[in-house]
Symmetry: C2
Subunit: 116 residues, 2 copies
DNA sequence: CGCTTATATTGACAATCGTCAATGCAATAG
DNA sequence: CTATTGCATTGACGATTGTCAATATAAGCG
């Protein structure tokens, strides 16, 4: 996945007309596929799920490395993919980086799948 | 994606308890990731969308090759991925193979994302 | 200033993926 | 039977991915 080309989830809203039964255009299909690819990894799904179940729905990298059983650079990499795709927000406070769920990102992509 | 290990979508229903705010287990994350990976490709999203917008929601390979601009073997490959993941059903009638949407597959995965 | 701690980046590697040309396999037509 | 048509499979190829070790950056502490 090329990180530099990821679009925020909000751009997905115009990937396809919501009600019509027309086939998806190539452009919309690529946008949606990019958003799904960012989600389609067990480590990233667990990261989202751990963040979601934390108090205040935020967590720092140190909270995430051990439960996943992956190295710290690998966790940082997955977090970057999720931020680039618009699923997570990143806030740096002091030495720590706190990740939190982006408000409607998951609902948006989930809704688009339902309309497919 | 290893085609032999794909599970039917129905198996996703026990990938994680629906309401709880517990982090996903590794096993459930892998199942859901496999289902999402099958979806996370522009050609496959367009295939689903074309099938969905057809009369009777079914189409043969000959209907699908030209609108995608991909070779026939490539289209057959993508269709196989979608069938293995449980998104499409395949019925052979005479020389033709007709693909149709599996009834609740997309809703299931879409619902799981919403609960994440 | 140097030392420690938390996170990010780089570079490498094996594994997987998407694609096509060539070929195989069934089912129908003649 | 042979020829044709629709689809599947195989094998190859470059491209992308997930992972880690090593290194870099940056913030706080002494």
């Amino acid at each position: 996945m090329s990180l530099t080309e990821l679009l925020p989830i909000t751009d997905l809203n115009d990937c396809c007309a919501p009600i019509t039964r027309e086939p998806m255009k190539a452009d919309g299909a690529e946008k949606l596929a990019r958003s799904l690819k960012a989600l389609a990894d067990p480590a990233r799904l667990r990261l989202l799920s751990i963040v979601a179940s934390h108090e205040d729905a935020e967590a720092c990298v140190c909270d995430l490395t051990e439960p996943l059983g992956l190295s710290q650079p690998t966790v940082s990499h997955h977090l970057k993919v999720l931020v680039s795709a618009g699923y997570l927000n990143r806030e740096k406070r002091g030495t720590w980086a706190y990740y939190s769920l982006a408000p409607h990102a998951l609902e948006t992509v989930s809704g688009l799948l339902g309309d497919l």
